[in-house]
């Protein structure tokens, strides 16, 4: 059991972080905390991807000394996916923050539920 936990430590931490981020994004009322939750959630997925791509004892996927066999290198695709994912999550975060600024200017609050209530009141 202990061995299993140690071997899959990265995956377990990633799933735990995913749950924390997801719950944060869903249940927090404060927009800034929501954005933090979004970033925790996305980062956990990148952690999972990156740790799946790494193979212990192998080298970075750059051909050195003419060794062409794939046996010596780690899987480079997950790293590429992580980079793409980071770009996506940065743009989503930027958009969400800019909308938060807009909302704050209008309702002077960061509380999404309160602002929803105010917006309903406008009819």
């Amino acid at each position: 059991m202990w061995n299993l936990i140690v071997r899959h430590l990265n995956d377990l931490v990633a799933v735990a972080l995913f749950v924390i981020g997801f719950a944060d994004l869903l249940f927090q009322k404060n927009m800034i905390k929501k954005v933090i939750g979004l970033n925790v959630m996305d980062s956990s997925i990148y952690l999972l991807l990156a740790s799946q791509g790494y193979i212990t004892g192998r080298k970075a996927p750059i051909i050195t000394d003419g060794v062409m066999s794939a046996e010596y290198y780690i899987n480079p695709i997950p790293s590429g996916l992580v980079l793409t994912g980071i770009v996506v999550s940065v743009s989503v975060t930027a958009l969400l923050l800019s909308m938060t600024i807009r909302m704050y200017k209008k309702y002077h609050s960061l509380d999404l539920d309160y602002c929803l209530m105010m917006a309903r009141g406008e009819g």
């Binding site: 793409t84 989503v92 958009l95 969400l96 406008e122």
Partner: protein, 501 residues
Amino acid sequence: MDFIKNFPFFSIMLSMFCAIVLSVLNRKAAKYMTRIVLGAVVCLSVAVLFFTIQRGESYVYYMGHFPAPWGNEIRFGCLESLFSLFVSLIAFLSVVAGTKAVEDDVEDRKENLFYILVCLMTSSLLAMSYTNDLFTGYVFIEINTIAGCGLIMVRQIGKTTVTAIRYMVISILGSGLFLMGVTLLYTLTGHLLMSNIKESVAELAQSGEYRVQFTIVIGLMLVGLAIKSGLFPFHLWIPDAYGQSNVVSSSLLSSTVSKGYIFLLIKIFVRTIGFDVIKSCGVLYICFTLGVVAMILGSVMALHEKSFRRMIAYSSIAQIGYIYMGIGLGTAAGVAAAVFHIFAHGATKSLLFISSSEFTEGSHTKTIEELKGLGYKYKFSAFCYSVGAFSIVGFPLLAGFVSKLLLGGAAIGHGAMQWIALLALAVSTILNAIYFLRTVIYLFIPDKAEKTDKPDMVPAYSMNCEDYVFGILILVMINLVLGLASGPIINIINNGLDIFS
């Protein structure tokens, strides 16, 4: 002829580059450029559709130089091209017919920003329909979310910002779950291309390994995409988002954006994982149950709604339920009916939203009661709105009738599910009829009291805006074509689903 194989790629890139170029154009140039580009995309999609129907097979197009397990691919058969045609046509017609509404709602000098969002949305939907790679699918889902969020915000009243934030937060929850599903599927199979995933899933399913893991992956993807398309328990953002934004945005969001996610889900179910594996792990019962509940509850909520635009939005929840019920039946006929309903509902909902713009914008009508007598003032819009209402209720000759017939036909022969599905269809149709025909009747009740308190009645769009008349008439015709000439379209859908897997 083989040159046509490049067209799917061209259509994605054309609309994406158009979005970039639009940022430096003024409003008039932006308007015409968007129309030209969307029209060109429609033509390209028609060419691809005829090409794939003629050849009767699907094609794979390498993006870059590397073949299958490593490179990125576009894949197109007749179903994908039909969906792309649908998306680009609805986008084109909504933009043309809603020109006036856009001019009214969007701030001066910022109209080009609106058209950027439309082009971005179209290109991401096209990419979602053509791509053969799950991660590319995820990236375009996010682009679509960003574009959708902007589309809600274009109408600059304070509450749309809050609505857009809520839409964004809920959408991000959905795409987070979807990305987690993609990641886990990648670790299980080692592939991102749909055809490769299918091979290794079939191998793993035969050996009986990783059953629980596959169920989790399928569940994550289903819930993620269901949240984004607004299936019943996740529908809370729909009424605000469709009810407050600009009519063109509402029409695009309800008839194309949410359908794009469902199309991707069908692609994942049928093409990526394989329908047999999906059936054996039982998630289809969830689809079916939520679909049936949505069909009834969506209609009940629409019945209680007093605001006109929000009522149309609530009916979208019910219609999304129809589609999920079709998928949940778990047969080829069910999926075909669901795909047909995607088209039928898209054509009808955009017609309803855009023709309602004349009542809501023209005379500042908000509630259903205020519609009284407007049918005589705005004859053309009232007629077109009635066509849409009849179609969604399911009158013969129109699109909604055929899709309900197909769904009912697909349900027969399923034991207990058959009765639940047929009963839900019947109840939902009756509720649909009650709340949609109520608005039609209100439109044509002569209003005795003169509307003196509303001096700023705008003259009818149909009098001075040819674009509006043109767009709406084509939408009416699409409804008629889907209703009268449904045979060939159903054939295309069935052939497309055959070569899908």
